[in-house]
Symmetry: C2
Subunit: 251 residues, 2 copies
DNA sequence: CGCGAGCCTTGACCTAAATCAACCCGATGC
DNA sequence: GCATCGGGTTGATTTAGGTCAAGGCTCGCG
């Protein structure tokens, strides 16, 4: 596993945990540490909930990944209609190598820490070490799959199915990170406001609210406060989501 | 430009024209011909309009690109609701390296010729020659952008805007291939049935038909037969499409 | 303590698009 | 010549979700 390397000890895979970009984008199986070469250009940035990180059209001279918190990619039409097109959870990658300006608004929906690299050196590294590009291709293909699942949701699912799908998606992502199950019951904290959910799902926030209430009334979910959700029967939720190919998790 | 190469003459960039996968996926600027190594695994396949090339879940042991004709990627729910998630025009790439089975139905909507490579050797080539992977990453990122534009369309646009957008998308793709403009007027042949359009747009085919009629009645488009469309004022069409970031072409 | 701001819920009503249904048109086959 | 079939249009009606409007709850602040 542990390859001998010219990089100093502090760059070995022990540090993978604290820097998702390294973990996910580079040393997929902790076999390499090419990114060590970028160590001097690496920096952390913190944002408060609600803060916009980049505006669509702005110059964007970094790439990076989410360390903690949640960010979204959103598109806006002139008249203000908004559609979320990306939901970034910890370890997700932001920024497109080879593009000058941001194509979407990037917004922190919770307090957020990102790990960034200056884009130019990152791009150079990509050319030098195929490993990085290959990993990035894999991640981009995953994102594309997620986007396509999302398109099915937007184009064909009912409001109720959309809500059920979103809860399932978040539960799955959450679970894969934190394993919060107890005897089949799954517990999730929605990290999004009703408005953010509506932007994700292509609905109004009133409809989101109503459908969440309906799912609760029908016993599909239990709610404590506004955001804390318990799913007594996950299969039931999946059924409500109308998911054909389950197992696929979007985002 | 023309690099000396160990490959026989028949593999030089002169052949790029007749094999889009080589042109688009590999020798982006006709500088390389790595794919020559795959020449013996390359083959062409023809399909008739309406034929399904691969069923979602099927084993898929090739990758390839569209040479002529049009194919679609479609997702289906158990109850039959269908959403198109990819529209493949000539030179577009099909197939995900690293995936065993197809995630979507691939359907030929017109008579179609594809240029295919067996997946295994293609994947090996990708590891050996970073060039190929880099080009593929670029293409995948483009597709992801297109998917996100598409999500805005599905989630937030009205039926009329959706139709206008689709016509604009096809016109742009078409124009960039064939340059069919005459004094500002743009002429397109819709390569899709009303049903296929409805699957693209997340509408019913009746709504598609009605909105096309409405756009014609309002002079935004002129129609001859069922499929032949003239756009007297392209900017007007774009306006009807509600496009914010124009210039970006989806698909 | 009262006040306002955010976030959320619920109700009444409206409308865009879906649904159901009839029909047109051109090609294909017998 | 007639029947059939796939693709397309158009009309009447229904409905899911949007819109507008009135609160409710909680938290921070003067």
């Amino acid at each position: 596993m542990q390859k001998t390397s010219t990089a100093p000890a502090k760059f070995t895979h022990v540090q993978c945990g604290d820097c998702p970009i390294r973990h996910r984008a580079v040393c997929a199986r902790c076999e390499t540490d090419e990114l060590a070469r970028l160590e001097e250009t690496k920096y952390y940035r913190s944002f408060e909930a609600g803060q916009t990180i980049v505006w669509s059209g702005d110059r964007m001279d970094f790439v990076g990944s989410v360390v903690t918190g949640i960010a979204t990619l959103t598109q806006t039409m002139e008249d203000g209609r908004r559609q979320m097109v990306g939901l970034l959870l910890p370890s997700d990658f932001v920024g497109r190598p080879g593009r000058e300006t941001a194509a979407y608004d990037v917004v922190a929906t919770t307090d957020l820490v990102m790990c960034c690299f200056r884009k130019k050196p990152f791009e150079e590294l990509m050319v030098q070490t195929p490993h990085v590009g290959q990993r990035l291709l894999e991640m981009t293909l995953d994102e594309l799959d997620a986007a396509r699942e999302w398109m099915l949701l937007l184009g064909r699912k009912t409001a109720r199915e959309k809500i059920a799908s979103l809860i399932a998606i978040i539960a799955r992502r959450d679970a894969s990170l934190k394993m919060q199950k107890s005897e089949g019951r799954v517990i999730v904290d929605l990290p999004l406001t009703r408005e953010a959910m509506s932007e994700y799902l292509g609905l109004t926030l009133e409809t989101v609210s109503r459908q969440i209430s309906a799912l609760r009334k029908d016993g599909v979910i239990e709610i404590e406060g506004k955001r804390h959700i318990t799913i007594p029967d996950f299969d039931r939720l999946i059924e409500e989501a109308g998911d054909d190919s389950d197992g696929g998790f979007l985002v």
